[in-house]
Symmetry: D2
């Protein structure tokens, strides 16, 4: 961290600032004086330094962070890839993880049929929403705890570990028997929920927020890890931009960037990123090519009858085709499915 001080500061002011800094943070200060400027370089545990507080000091003109503000998610301090293993299936290594299922769990036949179809197509995980974040209070809000029960039944039939989204800490214990707990884009900075999931211990699939930077996303993962849970899976799902031709804009560069900055696995959700079923295949291919560790795709047995997001779901037949193509392409990028 580099602090440029305002012109004409006195030695007493500089001493006072140095005392302020070393009194609060575990840092060493490296002072350098120029003809008409003084620069302080902070070295040490700068991830704990509150950059806004430093910027608020009277004699500080400008602060620049040099190191990353996160530690536990940082690849620098954990060079090897983290592999999160769930129900015997690894996420984050050579194996390319495939998560599929409907937007919402609706009925037992629906979730079971989808589970069987996606399993036979090669998916290793079943996703399904029981608590649904909907823009309108008048839209279907999900089956809640009953939806979780139906997912568990589908797991019993197929053996697929299950992934479902939590919307509130109130419902935490509905997730006692869920394999991976998803935090949705709208809750990426629900810090209370992140801390709670940090102590709960189950693997967390953390979606990137609609308008959150990569750094903010990693800081949210840091919240979970700092609370004691190392099993975090990141999921890029498109960001909000001015373009309206797609529902969101898939930030494909985020995949190699996050893989470099962090040791955590990164998967992609092409369904929400685009909102257009026929874009799922090319975006899945692009994600594999860019180095993603897995993919999460919405599949519904009867999209026109879906209670939510039917317009963007693949049919099981369409998913079969994408899945077959994944198996051809993954090995070219050193992955197996």
């Amino acid at each position: 961290m580099i602090l440029v001080l305002k012109p004409l500061v006195t030695d007493a002011e500089i001493d006072s600032l140095q005392n302020y800094l070393t009194g609060r943070y575990s840092v060493q200060i490296h002072l350098s004086r120029g003809v008409d400027s003084v620069i302080l370089g902070l070295v040490g545990d700068t991830a704990h330094v509150d950059i806004e507080a430093v910027a608020a000091q009277d004699i500080v003109e400008r602060v620049t962070r040099v190191g990353e503000p996160y530690k536990k998610v940082n690849r620098k301090f954990h060079p090897d890839d983290t592999i999160v293993t769930v129900g015997g299936f690894p996420i984050g290594g050579k194996q390319f993880a495939v998560i599929a299922g409907p937007c919402s769990v609706e009925t037992e036949p629906q979730i079971t049929e989808v589970a069987e179809r996606v399993k036979s197509a090669g998916a290793q995980f079943l996703r399904g929403g029981a608590y649904k974040p909907r823009t309108s209070p008048y839209s279907f809000q999900g089956l809640g705890a009953e939806g979780i029960d139906l997912l568990i039944k589908a797991r019993e039939k197929t053996g697929l570990p299950i992934v479902s989204e939590i919307m509130s800490s109130d419902a935490l214990h509905d997730f006692d028997d869920v394999d991976i707990i998803q935090v949705g884009a709208r809750n990426m900075q629900n810090f209370s929920l992140l801390k709670l999931l940090g102590t709960f211990g189950k693997p967390v699939l953390l979606k990137r927020g609609l308008a959150n930077t990569i750094e903010e996303w990693l800081m949210s993962a840091e919240y979970i890890m700092a609370s004691g849970n190392e099993n975090v899976i990141l999921c890029e799902r498109g960001i909000r931009t001015f373009e309206t031709a797609t529902r969101n804009t898939l930030d494909i560069s985020a995949i190699p960037l996050v893989k470099k900055l962090s040791h955590l696995p990164v998967i992609v959700d092409p369904t929400h990123a685009s909102g257009i079923p026929w874009l799922v295949e090319p975006l899945t291919m692009a994600s594999i090519a860019a180095g993603a560790d897995g993919i999460m795709i919405e599949v519904h047995n009867d999209p026109p009858r879906a209670l939510s997001d039917g317009a963007q779901a693949l049919t099981p037949d369409q998913f079969d085709a994408v899945s077959a193509r994944m198996r051809e392409v993954a090995p070219v990028f050193g992955r197996t499915i």
Copy 2:
């Protein structure tokens, strides 16, 4: 709502779609046939129609919403301005509401001193954060319930009603004696929390999300109202754009737009919108000129010692100056302070 059907649809398919629509929603359908296209116009309670579900129907090519998707917040069905009165002070009418206070409640002397200073400058409400949403888990997270207690003490001394942010439904009862509960930008689409606050009954100050459209913002207000709470105050606090010169971009047009679309009061937070103390005055003036019903400004008695966001807070002296200017300008726009 207008549905353009795909070319070459059959009469049976159209009948089936019409049955689907009238079976689920309270709408009348108005069908029109062109040379090579069929259009359905939906009239009635279209706010309850799930546009994505309609778009997922096989024969639908495109759906356009004509009416607004919200009802209770809609000015069409409630032409008069809503005035939320708290502790005797109205928000939403002729009176221009002034809310001021520190980012975080830190100590009793701090919050009391700030409360007394902002009161004497003309503020009618005291804000202060007890639960703080911070990007980093290593930053000060707020005093929690103790912070609320200190706010209550400051209210006892000054008579100012208090505003504080809730971050999680777990902490709801810490807010039993808070006058206005704030929902922050990061929780604008925390629908579980919105529903809970809808039933809790206390006035809610709903900040616009970083990257949420005006329509999504009003839909979140609809969540609160649909759960039974009519006392919603909207707060524009800047949106995230490509511009980095300011922390966010204040969407000044949102003020007159929301005033036209909705009957709810709209206030502005120029501190978070800009992140720059000397911009607070011109942005406050612009907000009054654009028709805002009030303003919320961060004030700290000792910004360099603030535990959060000190770099953007005004000192009490600076707030005095802004406040004096507000009193000159408000009457030109038909407001009193």
Copy 3:
């Protein structure tokens, strides 16, 4: 400018970098060594330093600019406000400049009628497009040179100086008798055109690009000034964001920010910023309150018959009302109309 060098650099490498820098730029270097880092501070004429070239040097880890990259537009080197006086009317001082007129010049009666109406409402300048940047090649492209002739006739009748947009250097001499040459948002970084207008000498009204930062906008003004033309007027006209309720998002904060960074006058175009006629009045009031030096408003005598942008133009009667309100409000902010 501060350069953080990579770890483990040798003295010879540092010497070589210092020679590279002092050999190309008029800067002094201020070197400081820490335990495991070396920092170079560059002082002097850093506006001429190519930050990307410096970042490309092998041993440079990171470069941060401390000073602004512009000189001639910088208020630091020109503390007094620039006032551009055109046809006896000042832009940039106490006087609030009002520019009004149709999107496109269409016919002599049209432009003359509008000119007379906006003059009688208090406008000091007439705007009108002769060369029109249209998204579609099939839309009306403007009357070209004939449009300029009609503007000149309207000036003869009313005495109002005229403002019109240039789209290409080919047409430069059509603007020999135009009072203020407008550079549109889409040409803000048409650097060839900016240089040409720098030598041509006529006052230039430089609109901000749709997705350009304030710094880039000021750099484009620097192009014009560096080529010898000091008469530059900046015009904020809204930026492109995710919000679709308005055509663009008026960046109201840009007004006080640019006034602080630069001595050039700043005006606002609320018509293009919003695309909605009834928003023109509140946005004009907000612009005055935020410190703008003037306003540019589209007015058409018969909006439904307009050949371009009719949906967003005010009628002369509507403009009368806005104008009357401007006269009431401007004095409150120290301006006269």
Copy 4:
């Protein structure tokens, strides 16, 4: 195109609007009346209809475009892929086009060395900037006509067709012997230049603007085609978003979307999209996987000595590695290099 009329319109008003529409455009109107609304459906050559002019009509409440506003670039009217063949090398078919070279042409040895290296690595086209759009007037502006001469010499030595950017119509004839003329992102809506290149006849490589939608990009291609030039190559180069970790955000979805909407070839510029050399390889792979027709990569023989953009260029050795990888991956997606 669908027009929803305002409530309570009279028959005479509707007749008048219909006459207005059929008098100006080659469209048939299909009127339908509901209980309290009237809808007009426009069929025919709606690409020529000015949607803003229609929206400006008094009785029109809302207009929605159903068809695309472009014709010549539209795949509907030209189902087969366009292949632009330059110097014997096709762009747009089975062959994956590789364009490489430095940001700026600097000296004869520099451009010749780069040309030879990229040719031996498998590139079929040489790029090099002679006229450079630089944010700062104080940065290197390119060699101009002399740069074009050096490119031509490099072509003579290597046989590689050359690509260079035009910044102004003034310099058109410097491009008489250039094989492909590039229009940069900042000039994507320089409509005068587009029209001129439409009549000039040489193949045009049209980059997407920083903040332009896919539809606007295709409309700019329509300008070139409508002026008579069918040889247009589209180039996605990243859009501007809130994310700052990369220079721009590569919109990977734009590739399959544009391939569906248009018959024109689409290539990708991963260098400008990311601004980070080590991201060029994964983004190139993702582009191939998403269906791109080619790639344009910046390569410099000595990046630290580059006169522009050195920090983002690959060295020839790095380009060799990316090129080798492209040859392995392209066949998996049905392409040859």
